[in-house]
């Protein structure tokens, strides 16, 4: 045992333990060196590339969205630069989120709940920007961009926003743009859509999204880890602006239609109505008004949850285009189908007289004439002109449900018209096959009677109905209605010129349609439509009253009124023998319950405005409420 000179034993130091410890040091440092060699030397090139890729990204350059004009070149929507506030959730610490959102809500004068909902509904990942506010004024934008430190993850961006010149007037046609939704994003990624991108959500903004969007460019950008752009390195692809649309809509006609509809709605206290004007020779829609409507600027500015809920809660569904996205019983306007079918299938001729009376009995049920008297023996001019129910019960009975359905389809009912607006519904044409499929039984005789006069199972969209009358007016061509006339490229070239699209030609003789046009003229001549005949222009048309819903305490059903009318090419001297009409107009007054036909008054007022007729033929007393149309 070693001892020190002062007599103490030398401490136990085991060399082996020191050596092992030294080996562990060598092993540890050796392992680190090996790993370092693997990363830096063996795979250095690969990591260097990743490091470069980290910094440079291809950023999209948004293309200016295409503009939209009316048929006369009036600008209906512009792109205006606005400030948007965006959040990158990954840069917003969870612990600070409530505080940041509350502060942001106060600055933006928005609801904190809205902002939270937007962040949570972010379609991208936490590393993608979420737009929480649009159309922020400059002072607020400055405030927010300077408060960067207090608002981690919040950025201010300049973006183009859609400004709809006339707001509500064209909302149903133009629609609006809005943020890409989480459900849409996966499919859209391949087309270059970004998580914070805007996309057409309704109207032609949606139908023509591809054309309007243009082609986004790209630039290679150096950025830091938070995604902040440190510098733009180069533009890889220039953005190609979107194409512009020229609508078939004429602002003047649209205004006339809206003025006429609003006048009647106010007079009656009615809450829902549609007016459409079309050129029957081409299928161009000149005006399409669906009320109530909404301001599409609300959406392009970023609608609040409260405002959106208010629109959703409105019973009259302002977000719906009632001209195409809802269907209703067509009432007597549908007698066009039975009349045309009866003539074409030779069940009746233009001179055949059918006995009209107070009611018909079928299987023990009474089917009443609307005036409970009838007009005695009646030909098609009389039956259509007086809108005789018993006349058309019998004609429908002669045709049977399937032939009646066939002629409905010939007029374009039962299928979407194909109009270039989203969400069109197809309506219902009841046939035996249809009823078997939906209700499991064939059509009963009484149901066919009802179908013949536009009640029962019949359901049409206002656009289908006007399109049917357009086919009558133009001599049997069913066109696909269009709201977009031309598409123009960014350099002004016409990319797609206007071309009428024929859906099909009706398999019917011209003489049959001529008879039906003159029968429609007879409706006016017989003063079934009151003083419409007194106007200094020639109008042919058909009114309709359609019951719907539940009976009230007195057993009365609410009802809507329809009128579809058209004029010859020369409205003063022309004749309905010719199929040259350039204007067909439809009015639909939902739940009108007026003593007279409200829709006829609307169309009358429209014609007064459209043809600049100075004398006022309107009969406001007809617009008083009164349930004259009782039925048992």
């Amino acid at each position: 045992v070693n001892t020190y000179l002062d007599g103490r034993r030398e401490p136990v130091r085991r060399l082996s333990r020191f050596v092992v410890f030294g080996l562990i040091v060598v092993l540890g440092v050796g392992t680190l060196t090996a790993r370092l060699f693997y990363l830096q030397i063996a795979n250095g090139t690969q990591y260097a590339a990743l490091s470069t890729a980290n910094r440079t990204v291809l950023e999209p350059i948004p293309a200016p969205r295409g503009l939209i004009y009316d048929r006369n070149g009036r600008l209906l929507v512009t792109n205006i630069p606005t400030f948007s506030v965006k959040i990158r959730p990954s840069d917003l610490p969870n612990s600070q989120r409530d505080e940041v959102v509350t502060r942001l809500a106060a600055l933006l004068k928005k609801d904190a709940a809205d902002i939270n909902a937007t962040i949570d509904g972010n379609p991208g990942s936490a590393f993608d920007l979420v737009r929480v506010a649009q159309d922020v004024d400059q002072a607020t934008a400055n405030l927010i961009s300077e408060a960067g430190f207090d608002l981690p993850g919040v950025q201010v961006a300049v973006e183009a926003r859609r400004e709809y010149t006339d707001g509500p007037m064209f909302s149903q046609i133009l629609g609006y743009t809005g943020p890409v939704s989480a459900e849409q994003l996966p499919d859209l990624r391949a087309d270059g859509y970004q998580p914070d991108d805007l996309i057409g959500k309704m109207g032609v903004e949606k139908t023509y999204e591809t054309e309007l969007r243009g082609t986004y460019g790209s630039q290679s950008v150096e950025r830091d880890a938070t995604g902040r752009r440190t510098q733009v390195l180069q533009t890889v692809d220039q953005a190609k602006p979107g194409d512009s649309l020229t609508l078939t809509i004429d602002t003047k006609v649209q205004d006339e239609a809206e003025t006429a509809l609003r006048w009647a709605m106010k007079k009656i206290g009615m809450t829902r109505g549609v007016v459409i004007a079309m050129n029957p020779q081409t299928g161009e829609i000149l005006a399409m008004v669906s009320l109530p409507t909404y301001d599409n600027n609300l959406f392009s500015r970023g609608i609040s949850a409260k405002d959106f809920q208010k629109l959703l809660d409105n019973e009259d569904k302002p977000l719906l285009n009632h001209a195409t996205q809802a269907h209703y019983a067509p009432g007597s306007t549908y007698k066009l189908v039975a009349g045309t079918g009866g003539l074409a299938d030779k069940k009746i001729s233009s001179s055949t007289r059918v006995t009209t009376k107070g009611y018909l009995t079928l299987g023990g049920t009474k089917f009443y004439e609307w005036n409970r008297r009838g007009w005695g023996p009646c030909d098609i001019y009389c039956g259509f002109g007086h809108s005789s129910d018993t006349f058309f019960y019998q004609v429908a009975g002669m045709l049977g449900a399937d032939r009646l359905g066939y002629w409905a389809e010939q007029y374009g009912f039962g299928a979407p018209t194909g109009v270039d607006l989203p969400g069109e519904v197809s309506g219902i044409v009841p046939t035996n096959a249809w009823k078997e499929e939906t209700l499991g039984a064939p059509m009963f005789g009484g149901e066919t009677y009802q179908a013949g006069i536009g009640q029962g199972y019949d359901a049409v969209t206002p656009l289908q109905l006007i399109n049917a009358y357009a086919a009558l007016a133009n001599g049997g061509t069913v066109y696909e209605p269009q709201v977009v006339r031309e598409i123009t490229g960014p350099d002004g070239d016409i990319v797609r010129p206007f071309e009428p699209k024929v859906l099909h030609k009706m398999k019917v003789k011209q003489s049959v349609l001529r008879t039906m046009r003159n029968a429609a003229r007879n409706t006016v001549l017989l003063r079934h439509t009151y003083n419409l005949v007194d106007l200094p222009i020639k109008i042919a048309g058909k009114s309709g009253t359609a019951e719907f819903g539940q009976r009230d305490a007195k057993g009365r059903l609410p009802y809507s009124s329809w009128f579809v009318g058209f004029t010859p090419a020369d409205p003063v001297h022309g004749s309905f023998d010719d199929a040259d009409s350039k204007l067909v107009v439809l009015a639909f007054a939902y739940d009108s319950r007026t003593v007279g036909n409200a829709a006829t008054e609307i169309v009358k007022y429209f014609f007064q405005l459209h043809y600049d007729i100075k004398k006022d033929y309107r009969l406001p007393e007809l617009l008083k409420r009164g349930n004259f149309y009782t039925n048992d």
């Binding site: 130091r13 562990i24 440092v29 370092l36 830096q40 880890a225």
Partner: protein
Amino acid sequence: MGVVRAEPTRVTDWAARPVGAAWRSFDIQLTVYATLLVAIGLAMAYTNSVESGSTPLEAGTTFSRGLMWAGIAAVTFVLATLFDYHWLRTLSWPVYAFQLGLLALTLAIGDGVGGSARWIAIGPFTFQFSELAKILMIIVLANYLASRESRLDSLRTILGACVLVGPPLILVMLQPDLGTSMVFGAILAGMLWMSGASLRWLAVLAAGVIAMIPIAWTYILRDYQKERLTSFLAADKDLQGAGYQLYQSQIAIGSGGWMGKGLTNGTQSQGDFLPVQTTDFVFAILAEELGFIGAMVLFGLVTLLLWRVLIAGWRSRDPFGTMFAAGLASMILFQLVVNVGMVMGIMPITGIPLPFVTHGGASLVSMAIGLGILQSINIRQTRAEW
């Protein structure tokens, strides 16, 4: 105190015997290596300050704070060298009480990220007492093992050491600071090994610890700790989540190549792709900017330093000195391997600083105290060499 009472008590054992300092035994190499390591740390602080866009010498930058702490550490080192380490043996129990006090205080009033308690604010500065606690732990353990030198083969000694480490380890675990508690474990293991404790009992102890792992995993570790511990195994599966940092740090290291991108030229750090780059992940920036060569210099310096620490332990005729050197070497080695291994993706993510280089006053000052005590041991061995 029972442990001390087991010794045949002599008055002279209760007080340090004054031993004249032999300055020629002062280890200049050790000091030089440590100084160079601190210089590397300052270089990294400098590059961080430049990259974050500030003037390095301005008050409050990482670099100016680094300079200040380096100054404090230098003074501390000198004071610790001058201090006769024998007093530490005398004061071992008060030191232990002081250590527990610091850790308890941290737990009571400390601040930290996400509800943890790690730092205590002293004026404008924050100080992580658990760093100091590691050195204090080494002192306490060294004294205990030295005093039981003749009974190192017994299970009681080993268990006694474990019992001593237990309370501070639990207090640190409660902060919660899993990394530092693991350092305590490493210190204990290294010192028991070097003390010459029975291999048989050490094996039993190791087996016991391994058996404890599943229990700790189920009942003690919190979910985020488990996630950190395992995320390095599948870092490439979760690049946007827990794996992001590892992925970015490996890109930083890998893109450095042989020579690196040059000080202050790291693109990963400038772009802020790498979180906590001044603290636990500082090695990633070092490897990115100084390359393989720079990292080799760092490894070389740490290895040389460890060699000098072990030499000091070997030369010490006092078992306390040997044990202290063993503890210090274990701590430095463990922290180097775990920190650098973590940054390179071969070790779990734990908040263990890289000695000398990680920016943090507590770590640097504690290291200065440790090396100062080692120098004090170096110059106070009166072994006759003639």
